[in-house]
Amino acid sequence: MAESAAPVATLSFEDALAELESVVTALEKGTVPLEESITLYERGAELRRHCEGKLRDAEAKVTQITQGADGSVGGRDVDIS
């Protein structure tokens, strides 16, 4: 649960969300010792920040692939709407 082995920053959104879920569930059960519940709580805060960060940078940018005569691949931003 509180596997500090996995730094939150490296987690995918999905994993972070799943862990946050389990952290909250554990806290809600109320069976976790106080010390551990504080640790869990802090871990949960970190996970939440991570998740929200992942949700925040929602840019809608479209890049169209271009191919040079030699087959090299490039890109140019386009506006398709």
């Binding site: 995918s12 959104f13 999905e14 976790v32 949700l55 929602a58 692939i65 490039g74």
Partner: protein
């Protein structure tokens, strides 16, 4: 009648020979149908050794004979089979010699579901045998891709639908690889695009997509045919990046759909599959956040409450001390006063108590009490109460007195009689009477009665008692008396003891 005759006889229409007419027809037909495409089902097919192919094209009402000359037959893309729906391209011609017309087919292509599906099934079976469609090859799609690669036409509704749906759900970085989505170059372009995305290095100038969408709008089976091509199917199956196919409408199934990790019924659906709804996720995270805070707060509240309860049960140390300190102070203040008061009280008690308790008043009280008791007892002691018992007792006493007097008199009388008898007997038996009859008693000097002569001889002096008195004698052969005889005064007593045996012997 006239008219009939007129028409019969008066016609001025030109007359053709059969050959002329047949030739005219041939010119018309070959001129009018020099290049036609005709769709029909292949009927009877014959392949004579000449190398030409003869076949019939038909539909439900008509039959058209056809021929494929040897040269054209060699370059056919497909091998026409009976029952196959085809589109034949060629020209019409006639056989004047037998009043027939036919189509000379230059190219023939499958048309309609029958043929295409047969081909499709064949290809599908071959690719499936290779395991390209196996479920275990399917990879899970990323839950939230950062970059989405789209392979489709840059113009048209498809890319717009995808972008709009992405914007609605979760705006993402999109890489669009433009391809023709139908026609000769479609398959090769799509395959190249899929491989090209996979070839993008991670962390390069162009971000490598986390998921691919290969999309095309609806169209005929032929329009979508490019997505059935083996090259496309292989590229999709080999893609390291998870791939969503969205080709045609939901009812259209192409082979890329089978090779893709996920098939979307429409391009819009592909966008929905590719990304979750951002607002829902935000709400979910917010919900979890709320629960997280509440859970900890509740946990802390519970513990706080428990602590409070326990603390309440535990007396406060300062209260403990304060109370005792106060008591100590109070006692300390009272102590000197208490001492003073105590001694004063003792003094008072001593002075007052000694006089009070041990004085005459105390005695007087006791006396008074006893006097009262005596009085009460005296009150009960009335003569009336005593009279009856006294009288009774008086009577009994009188009776008893009478009885006593009588009994006493009788007893006295009887006693007296016996006494006299006894007295007489005694008188006759007593030593005095014996002495009176002339006997004497001899005693030695010590007063002992002597009954033998030898003892009398041993005695120094003898006392002889007679009825009328005593005399002292000395035996002749006895030593002289050393002492005078004892006074006769106590004699009557002494002889009484030895008397019984003397009497016994006398009797």
């Amino acid at each position: 009648m006239e008219l009939f005759e007129d028409s019969e006889t008066g016609s001025n229409a030109p007359e053709f020979t059969v050959s002329e007419l047949s030739g005219a027809i041939k010119r018309v037909i070959e001129g009018e149908f020099a290049h036609v495409r005709v769709r029909g089902e292949v009927g009877r097919v014959s392949r004579p050794a000449s190398g030409h192919i003869y076949l019939d094209l038909k539909d439900d009402r008509a039959v058209l004979a056809g021929v494929i000359w040897k040269g054209a037959a060699r370059s056919l893309e497909i091998r026409p089979e009976e029952g196959m729906e085809v589109i034949a391209t060629g020209r019409l011609t006639t056989f004047p010699g037998s009043s027939r017309y036919q189509i000379i087919i230059e190219s023939i292509a499958p048309a309609g579901m029958g043929a295409l599906m047969a081909m499709l099934e064949k290809r599908k079976a071959a690719l499936a045998a290779e395991g390209l469609f196996a479920p275990e090859r399917k990879r899970p799609l990323p839950f939230l891709p950062e970059v989405i690669g789209v392979v489709t036409s840059p113009s048209g509704a498809v890319i717009r639908d995808i972008l709009h749906r992405l914007a609605d759900r979760f705006p993402r970085r999109v890489l669009l690889w433009p391809v023709p989505v139908q026609g000769e170059k479609c398959a090769a372009s799509v395959a190249a695009a899929i491989r090209g995305f996979n070839a993008l290095p991670a962390g390069g100038a162009l971000p490598r997509p986390d998921v691919l969408i290969v999309a095309r709008g609806g169209g005929s089976v032929e329009d979508l045919w490019g997505f059935n091509e083996e090259i496309v199917v292989r590229a999709a199956a080999e893609s390291a990046i998870p791939l969503i196919s969205a080709v045609g409408h939901e009812t259209d199934t192409t082979l890329i759909d089978l090779a893709a990790d996920r098939r979307a019924p429409t391009p819009t659906a592909a966008a929905e599959i590719a990304v979750p709804v951002r607002l829902e996720l935000l709400a979910a995270v917010a919900g979890l956040e709320e629960r997280r805070r509440a859970a900890l707060a509740r946990g802390l509240d519970l513990r706080r409450q428990r602590l409070r309860d326990l603390a309440r049960a535990l007396p406060r140390p300062e209260a403990l001390v304060a109370e005792r300190a106060q008591r100590l102070d109070g006692l300390g203040l009272r102590l000197p006063r208490a001492l003073v008061a105590f001694t004063r009280d003792r003094h008072l008690e001593l002075s007052r108590g000694a006089a009070g308790r041990f004085g005459p008043a105390l005695l007087a009280r006791s006396l008074e009490r006893r006097r009262e008791q005596l009085l009460r007892a005296g009150l009960g002691l009335r003569p009336q109460t005593m009279a009856l018992p006294i009288r009774h007792r008086g009577e009994r006493l009188a009776a008893l007195g009478d009885r006593l007097a009588r009994a006493g008199a009788q007893r006295l009388q009887a006693g007296r009689g016996r006494f006299e008898i006894l007295a007489r007997t005694l008188g006759s038996l007593g030593p005095e009477a014996v002495l009176a009859r002339g006997f004497a008693i001899v005693r030695d000097g010590a007063g002992a009665v002597l009954q033998r002569a030898e003892r009398a001889r041993a005695a120094t002096s003898l006392e002889i008692e007679f009825a009328d008195g005593r005399l002292t004698a000395t035996p002749a052969d006895a030593p002289p008396p050393s002492e005078p005889p004892a006074a006769p005064k106590a004699k009557p007593r002494r002889p009484r003891k030895p008397k019984p045996p003397e009497q016994g012997s006398l009797f």
